[in-house]
Amino acid sequence: MSALANLFTVILVSLGLLFFLAGLVGLLRFPDPLSRLHALTKADVLGLGLVVIGLLPQVAWPFAALKLVALWVLVVIGGSIAGQLVAAIELGAADASADGNVDGKADRNRHGPEEDAP
């Protein structure tokens, strides 16, 4: 059982590292920022996802395992949004897309900032 779990871990982590390697090669070799982002997000989402799944049998259930999954979810959220922001700047579309709803947001910000202070 333990040997099976170890085999599972080795295979999935290696697969995940393969995606990281591919993402790295893409980052270095692709010609433009958008393609490079495309390569990077694969490493984030698939590579780290496979590494996390591979490590699941090695850690204590439930809390350590859930922490690993939570880490992956946070990296996916952060990575994809950062990719979105870089892409928006690259396309010069950041202002164009934000102009539409910036007024509504500015109004909502009027009432006190204190409630958000830590």
Partner: protein, 333 residues
């Protein structure tokens, strides 16, 4: 086998840290250097993990890398663009002298540190056994927290006082005309919707993680400084995304919160003089609740002070900020 892999990791890690450090110093572009410094902080945190010091690693990642990295990043984007090379020709020789002096001083420090560390007797002198023996008296399980809050509490107290002084020094840079105005470095004029979404998602998760870091500090790596730095970073993110407006230096609430931590720590320390016979000594049986009270207020103070420093300064020119003139007065408690 595992020793070999560990050695390989260490060699790769220290090689990367050295090369990245060199690159950050040598790179001509400020923004690239600042981003390199952020990554450098994360790698140094990994070095601390390899050295078996997760408490230091967390602090390095949160403060050494994250907080200072953000300040350097902010400074690099606010400095005027560097003049092109050719007109600066007469000024260059003096810069080279400065570079040589800085390099010589850094090399001296590194060499001195290396001599001291390599000259230590084997095994190195350590108070770890004494700390481990006395730790039960503090009702804590994490020896690092025990040292910070009990055995060397006076150091921790003055570290937080230094932070107050840093905030005062920072505020002294506010131009006279902008004193009651909100800082305007962070908020983006048109925050991209994706960034607003990120701030909305990360705020509750981040607060939860910060409270977790704070609470496990009693028994595991973590504690008030790391949690405070995380809260400050979240606050900065929320300000960048325009979900909360930066707070002016004249607000009474943030001033009170900034000094509350060191003040409560100091008062409890003075109480120890009377109740337990020594400055910063905790009365028998009350160690844990007193330490928790101190850590809660210190965490709030650290978060508020770091957040206020991250928020930057208000600008002096009233022409640009005319519609927002004197917004600091409306929210006065």
């Amino acid at each position: 086998m595992s020793v070999g892999i560990g050695l390989l990791t260490d060699v790769l890690l220290s090689g990367t840290v050295l090369m990245l450090g060199l690159w950050v110093i040598l790179t001509a572009d400020r923004l690239r250097a600042a981003i390199g410094f952020l990554i450098y902080g994360l790698l140094v945190a990994l070095v601390w993990v390899r050295l078996g010091a997760p408490d230091v690693a967390l602090t390095e990642a949160a403060i050494g890398g994250g907080m200072i990295g953000l300040l350097v990043l902010g400074a690099s984007t606010r400095l005027p663009p560097e003049p092109p090379r050719s007109p600066g020709a007469p000024a260059r020789p003096r810069r080279w002298i400065l570079h040589v002096i800085a390099a010589a001083l850094s090399a001296t420090v590194a060499l001195g540190l290396a001599l001291v560390v390599l000259g230590l007797p084997e095994p190195a002198p350590s108070l770890a056994a004494a700390v481990a023996a006395e730790l039960p008296a503090t009702a804590l399980e994490n020896p690092v927290t025990g040292v910070l809050m009990a055995f060397r509490a006076v150091d921790t107290l003055f570290e937080t006082v230094v932070l107050v002084l840093a905030l005062i020094a920072f505020w002294s840079l506010i131009p006279d005309a902008g004193w009651s105005r909100r800082p305007d470095w962070l908020p983006l004029p048109h925050p991209p919707p994706a960034l607003v979404l990120l701030a909305r998602i990360l705020l509750p998760i981040g607060v939860l993680v910060a409270l977790h870091l704070f609470w496990i500090g009693a028994s595991l790596p973590g504690g008030k400084f790391q949690a405070g730095a995380l809260l400050a970073a979240l606050w900065a993110l929320v300000m960048v995304a325009g979900l909360a407006r930066p707070i002016a230096a004249t607000e009474r609430l943030v001033r009170v919160l900034a000094v509350l931590g060191p003040l409560v720590f100091f008062v409890i320390g003075l109480g120890g003089l009377w109740l337990a016979g020594d400055f910063l000594a905790y009365p028998e049986g009350l160690e844990k609740p007193l330490i928790i009270i101190i850590e809660v207020v210190l965490m709030l103070s650290v978060a508020v002070m770091l957040g206020l420093i991250l928020a930057g300064l208000p600008s002096a020119d009233t022409a640009v900020r005319a519609p927002k003139a004197r917004p600091g007065t409306e929210g006065q408690p």
